[in-house]
Symmetry: D2
Subunit: 334 residues, 4 copies
Amino acid sequence: MNTFGRNFIVSIFGESHGEAIGVVLDGVPAGIPLAAEDFESDIKRRKSGAKGTTPRIEADIPQLLSGIYEGQTTGAPLAILFKNTNTRSSDYELLAQVPRPGHADFVADVKFDSCNDPRGGGHFSGRLTLPIVAAGVVAKKIIASQVEAEGNEQPCAIHAKIIELGGIPKGDDNRWRKALETAEAEGDSLGAVVECTVSEVPVGLGEPFFDSLESRISHAIFAIPGVRGIEFGDGFKASAMKGSEHNDPFGPDGRPVKNGAGGINGGISNGEDIVFRVAFKPTSSIAKEQNTLNFVTDKMTKLSVPGRHDVCFALRTPVIVEAMAAIVLADQLV
Amino acid sequence: MNTFGRNFIVSIFGESHGEAIGVVLDGVPAGIPLAAEDFESDIKRRKSGAKGTTPRIEADIPQLLSGIYEGQTTGAPLAILFKNTNTRSSDYELLAQVPRPGHADFVADVKFDSCNDPRGGGHFSGRLTLPIVAAGVVAKKIIASQVEAEGNEQPCAIHAKIIELGGIPKGDDNRWRKALETAEAEGDSLGAVVECTVSEVPVGLGEPFFDSLESRISHAIFAIPGVRGIEFGDGFKASAMKGSEHNDPFGPDGRPVKNGAGGINGGISNGEDIVFRVAFKPTSSIAKEQNTLNFVTDKMTKLSVPGRHDVCFALRTPVIVEAMAAIVLADQLV
Amino acid sequence: MNTFGRNFIVSIFGESHGEAIGVVLDGVPAGIPLAAEDFESDIKRRKSGAKGTTPRIEADIPQLLSGIYEGQTTGAPLAILFKNTNTRSSDYELLAQVPRPGHADFVADVKFDSCNDPRGGGHFSGRLTLPIVAAGVVAKKIIASQVEAEGNEQPCAIHAKIIELGGIPKGDDNRWRKALETAEAEGDSLGAVVECTVSEVPVGLGEPFFDSLESRISHAIFAIPGVRGIEFGDGFKASAMKGSEHNDPFGPDGRPVKNGAGGINGGISNGEDIVFRVAFKPTSSIAKEQNTLNFVTDKMTKLSVPGRHDVCFALRTPVIVEAMAAIVLADQLV
Amino acid sequence: MNTFGRNFIVSIFGESHGEAIGVVLDGVPAGIPLAAEDFESDIKRRKSGAKGTTPRIEADIPQLLSGIYEGQTTGAPLAILFKNTNTRSSDYELLAQVPRPGHADFVADVKFDSCNDPRGGGHFSGRLTLPIVAAGVVAKKIIASQVEAEGNEQPCAIHAKIIELGGIPKGDDNRWRKALETAEAEGDSLGAVVECTVSEVPVGLGEPFFDSLESRISHAIFAIPGVRGIEFGDGFKASAMKGSEHNDPFGPDGRPVKNGAGGINGGISNGEDIVFRVAFKPTSSIAKEQNTLNFVTDKMTKLSVPGRHDVCFALRTPVIVEAMAAIVLADQLV
């Protein structure tokens, strides 16, 4: 249930305010060079601190507990641990009776018979995306080594970025900055759209129907908290196009002249860039007052969610989206 | 690979022009009344014949080979077979050297070393959605029996419909008709958006992260040929909303006052209607000429795809979308 | 639940007296030559007719419904169907209230709320081993093609045979014949031990711990009805040996000088013959009277199981044991 | 690959001489009381120190990293860590060129391209049975809570014990002691047979064919290093019995008068005690000299395996066998 993959298997565990969070990776091929330093860059990209993100800073140093010997993967499961150090649990105690709108507080309470860890969202916390980013780092290395082993010159390159923030398309960083400042001043929050491009993909990854590449990628992407939609290639716009506009005829070099399909036909990679976009909701925790119910008193109340929160958590998600794409592709390649 | 589900397991097989297509369903609880007639209604909804869909008519009568005794499911696997009767393979023979734009011809050829069955798209054919619809019928019955067994008054109701066709929102059937006629006259094709609503959903289905309900649903939906995107609740629009707009605060009756989350929080059903929209591309096979490559002569050529095709295959898909939603929910409930 | 395998996936369905039984094979590589004739030899080995086996004869002709085109596998799922033709259901109707000792009648009734198909054991019937044998035929072809593709000169060879019948070791066929005749005359039945040897196995198949090769093989073998035990290499005798006797030291040619481990160390094939033995119980259905309970009258009764039964069904099992070994190895190799 | 289970999922990781070993348990129901003390008894049973077992002593104190809140399981994954503290890696360094007979040294080297961790057997070490025992503790608690929830008075009780040591049946402890002393004095080792009995089992666990209860149990049992065979009920002796001897007719109380089937018919528990026996080989690491090959010099050599080893590691295994049985049953019950 907290596990993904058929041959490269990712299992995450942990809670926001527990002792530690982590991930176990099974099916990692032997002989891939790997060190704690390899995780720094991607973990830093995910880390809080940027404009519009929460001031909570965790050290986020990965402990590699197993599966590595003399600087290389051994073929045995790789366990990666992150200690939780900077927790302020008291922030959350008042919320037991007033489930935060947009959060999993209510469903977690029902599903787990009130036994779930409520501190900081417990196991539902966005903090669990940290081990996912770590899994992504390993997945990217697996992809590079597998693609190389098959004689391709270029390994797949996976790159995700924000292309729209608070409804404002990329291009005018000034407008983005102002939108973030306004939202912060109002105690409100913003969402964003992330676009991910995977280039140099081998032809033939994926399957028709249930294991289509879109099925696998969307499965992984919707595991990221706060995702509201995903689209490939022309996406939702394709449904308003004619066949003669959306189709990708082959050109004289044997490659399609456009990429409306987003690199996938019949569930299988066609060698063009895989392109997909992910819609992230605005941060649910806002300081701005919301009218909601106190489930204990059964009376309506005003809630201003305390604690430290991102104005736009989506700013941190491109590296998480990349990690998920990498996890899916590594699972296809090993 | 052609299998979906953890506890209710759906495995499909067959090719468009082979002897038969079918599905094996494992994990079906014992004691559910089931007869061939139960499939009629949904199969009819999927069947061709409507304006904008192909004139190819198959009998589409399900043969229930196993798993049923004296009109009830036995708990053993249910195998359902559909004979292929109305095939005109010669239509497709000329296409071997000119892969049809938008189809899987090219990737199938590469992935399966030219051993794939090319007739009518072979295993990639939309005809495989017929056993999926059959699986959906069984899944709907499972859901009803499971929800009833848990003492709920109302079983889940799953309903999908076209809400946008060729870019035209629902409401003006005349404009839809004209758009279809125009596209047909031009030898072109249209796409559509399908909206699916699942009501009376028990709270607590799904898991955080990798088995989130959105992950499972999107996985199944992208297994339908021709899907370009999926969104839940406010969907892509959520990324342009503020938190104070998108959040669903609880009202005095303990239920959220709106449903921007589409019935799912933290990957888990919250009891509200699950609402999602699916973008379907326009039919890839069009009579209109396309400039594309002949891979044998290595020269550009004009292609007018022969054979019988839907102007808008998406018109048939609401029942397929329902089937996929039902398959996911049945898998959660058994 | 009726499915086995991670990458080569076998799903069986059907009942003894239903319309048909069959199997769906997913993950079959493309390009393997396959025809209905390829199944004849193994199906014949399993078929009834020999001394000590039931006179019920089914035609047992496989229908290849999908996954094959122009005499080769296509990479799409392979569905194989066998029609049931020669059924005499009335034999079994009297047994509803007196569950046959040694059969699944009682547990099936409890587990499936009396909805199971009781005719001829329904889904529990040994007849389901027919699609397993068919899956084994395909698996053997996969193994040959995969091993060949990796440049090995010799494909794995899998061979199983009876080494003990009714407690009498192989060697004196006259004693075996007499034991069968005596058991038949007494309306009683016999068991047997089957030994299976897989030679020319690549080094490195299997995993430590949960996917050890012994775990996978034993999992598949215990899916054959009537198995009571399995042992590898020195087997149970190993527990009475000293380390210096049981160990397999390496000899001057780099290969172990003996094979007490049965070709597997640490869960992984070591290149030597994989050798295992399987204990089959005597046929449960016997004409000889048994004192047992009538669950309806709640009184003890004498039961002589009517119908046609093998004196020693284990005589048919070597080809089934081979099929299971082949299925496991094919799953490792694809 | 290092994972077992469908609904209660056990994933192990770690190496004998690495930083830590551990296990992640997914699918643990919420609300089960659990503390570090609960693990003490079973871990102590597995721990070394008894006559015939190695003097290496680890603290073996479990760290519960996640999935527990206020003394109860939360429904989120449970991660359990054991630090490795008492390692003497230098013992193993000389063995790189002389693979130890009976060990995985050779296959690990081939399978993992010489990248495996060789220290103390690395990931193949019997030390990995420690997290398995920990998983078993949780599994036993799940079983108790699930069986209780279904209204049964008695939870399943799982009990395993040595019934034969070095070929000597249980009964004469003096002969066992002497056999151990003799083997130790000779630098040799002994094997044993463990019998496991599960009582108060609900009727209906398991499935026909591929998920038979025997299939699942044997799969898990062969994941324990050093297992050579498993048999249920009458086991291998059943193959020498007549049907009239081996069958279990029902008695006047509705229960079988004997238990030759070992509590399982048609792959499904029948309510009687599940009884199975497991054959363990003698410890592979012996001080006694073995003639074997040096793979570097390509010359035969004499090997006396240095380091600390159990004369009979099987003495520690009853609690591991219980853990595996519990893991299988918990997976059926959640």
